[in-house]
Amino acid sequence: MELDLTLARKFYREMLLIRRFEEKCVELYSNEKIRGFLHLYIGEEAIAVGVMHALTPEDSVLATYREHGQALARGISAKSILAEMYGKMEGCSRGRGGSMHLFDTDTRFYGGSAIVGGGLPLAVGMALADKMMKRDRVTVCFFGDGAVAEGEFHESLNLAALWQLPVLFICENNRYGMGTALQLSESETNIAQKAAAYKMSSKQVDGMSVTDVAEAAEEAVAEIRAGKGPLFLECLTYRFRAHSLFDAELYREKSEVEEWKRKGPLVTFRKKLEAMNLWTEINEDEIEDEITKIIDEAVEFAENGTLEPVADLEKFVYSEEVV
């Protein structure tokens, strides 16, 4: 893909924003400002940034419980995401969802699903609606390698291919479903090949390379818009941090983590830009400063947010509009 300075800066900045935002989340979690589960995307940033680059505001996005990166890359503000994690009314889900359930219909971001595989059928339905109403939209569905073992994965891929729906499936293969390695879960560990069995175009992509992901996603989205049915990208990646902050990481070697960190999306992208003589043009300090400011403001916003009155507890169980 054609990588100019503007795009290089955008990619680097967006990945760094996710990285720094989540580092702050860890700190806030330790200080008990954020509670519940906290699943970090650190190491996988290139996928969200690369895929979102290929979308228009009209497209729809569904993600999992490890979705801070997708939410930020889709354009939900750090303020509203952090306020959500604080359980405040100013949060993107009014504090009803928390870290695992970020929703924002303005950016067509439909969660934030914490049942592994449970978002895939929804993506199929959203795409079905677009096809029936002849809308020019693509639905992108993110999920992990763990979802591949679920029946809903297979049912959904079959429906999407059978009905030729405009869905882009993004499998973020970080090699572990919580603590169980892919080879202990799957008889066939090439996930793209499974998708191919449903007669949809699929391929493996280096999920550590933002440009590889962006290029593959752009091609995929163009094909889907041209009416060629669903498409599947398996992005090979690695989660640098524990599954959640309750995870003692007994199931993998530290050396393996270190090896993957050397292949991390930020370091490799920086090396690439250096080789292209673009890095010297990028003012790293300026980007860091801007991100620090965004995060500081998000923390302040979340701290000063409002706790929803307990009197409103039973709101949003049914719509207020009455038949």
């Binding site: 219909t105 969660g111 959203m126 029936m132 109403m133 079959n158 169980v317 038949v323």
Partner: protein, 328 residues
């Protein structure tokens, strides 16, 4: 349209057909709803009328097509998902419970799910333990869902329209034994809203609360009881969630004796919930302990005499009513 001998099946079909004519967002999706005409022939002829794009045959993927119904509803459509029987709906329970019922709340009010799920329920056809259960009471446990149980031909028609107009997920349970039943249908009558129970037979001695096919067993029983001088009030619950506490309590205050007929098992059932509410709201109105006629706590068997013995029958209702009247 006014007709005296419309079948329940025709009423549901007419409801679907009219809704699809009026609203391009409405479509029907499920196993064998198109070319086959529906496993209970409810949608017979609809694919010819509306085409394969709006009457959609699905593979045997309850979870994915129910979830797809939710996704389509989130994205502006008004889907009707048909699941063959309530037992099969358990394959879609994840989508119904974890998505349909929770999305509005989890999203802080941003995403409502205007989805209708229809399914057949109930025993009595010798279909044994994987096709015959009455699990609507389970679904009534779940905040975020509405659970409707049309018994009459009029409600078979009306409830579909009401459910499609509702902004939230509505489950409609159709007793498979009712599809051939005939009754009065007036399509111009204004429908009784969701959440309203209906007193179908007024009486002064005891209240019988029932829904679905058991409503007719209760009405049969009431006729027998009338000959013995027992004047039973029979109420069609119509909706298990929300329950119409007001109509129930008004009847309790009138008759002071209560029986609930429910094809679910007793333990943890909707009948248990109704008893609990009467205890909470009208305990001192009761002249006798409340009675229940439910399904015996076995998976439903194949053999006819065993299945008949397992589910509520008019004779059991009559016997329970007599006993209830003997209490001080």
């Amino acid at each position: 349209m006014m007709s005296k001998d419309t079948t329940y099946r025709e009423a549901v079909r007419l409801g679907i057909s009219e809704a699809m004519e009026q609203d391009e967002r409405v479509f029907l999706m499920g196993e064998d709803v198109g070319r086959y005409g529906g496993c209970f022939a409810v949608s017979m002829g609809l694919q010819e009328k509306f085409g394969t794009e709006r009457i959609i045959d699905t593979p045997l993927s309850e979870s994915a097509f129910t979830g797809a119904g939710i996704g389509a509803a989130m994205n502006g459509m008004r889907p009707i998902v048909e699941i063959m029987t309530v037992n099969f709906s358990l394959l879609a329970l994840d989508q119904i419970m974890n998505n349909a019922a929770t999305l509005l709340h989890m999203s802080g009010g941003q995403l409502n799910v205007p989805l209708v799920i229809r399914m057949a329920t109930g025993g009595g056809k010798q279909l044994a333990a994987q096709h015959s259960h009455s699990l609507e009471g389970w679904y009534a446990h779940i905040p975020g869902l509405k659970v409707l149980t049309p018994a009459t031909v009029q409600d078979a028609y009306d409830m579909l329209g009401l459910a499609l107009k509702d902004p939230d997920p509505v489950l409609i349970f159709e007793n498979s034994l009712l599809y051939n039943s005939k009754g009065l249908l007036d399509t111009s009558a204004s429908p009784l809203p969701i959440g309203k129970a209906l007193v179908l037979r007024s009486g002064k001695d005891l209240t019988i609360l029932a829904y679905g096919i058991n409503l007719f067993k209760a009405l049969d029983a009431a006729e027998t009881l009338a000959k013995e001088g027992i004047d039973a009030e029979v109420i069609d619950l119509r909706s298990l969630r929300p329950l119409d506490d007001e109509t129930i309590m008004a009847s309790v205050r009138k008759t002071h004796r209560v029986m609930i007929v429910d094809e679910g098992w007793k333990s943890g059932s909707i009948s248990a919930e109704i008893m609990a509410r009467i205890n909470e709201q009208a305990f001192y109105e009761l002249d006798a302990p409340m009675a229940r006629v439910c399904t015996v706590e076995v998976p439903l068997p194949y053999a006819k005499q065993l299945e008949d013995a397992a589910i509520p029958q008019p004779e059991k209702i009559v016997a329970a009513a007599r006993k209830l009247m003997e209490e001080a």
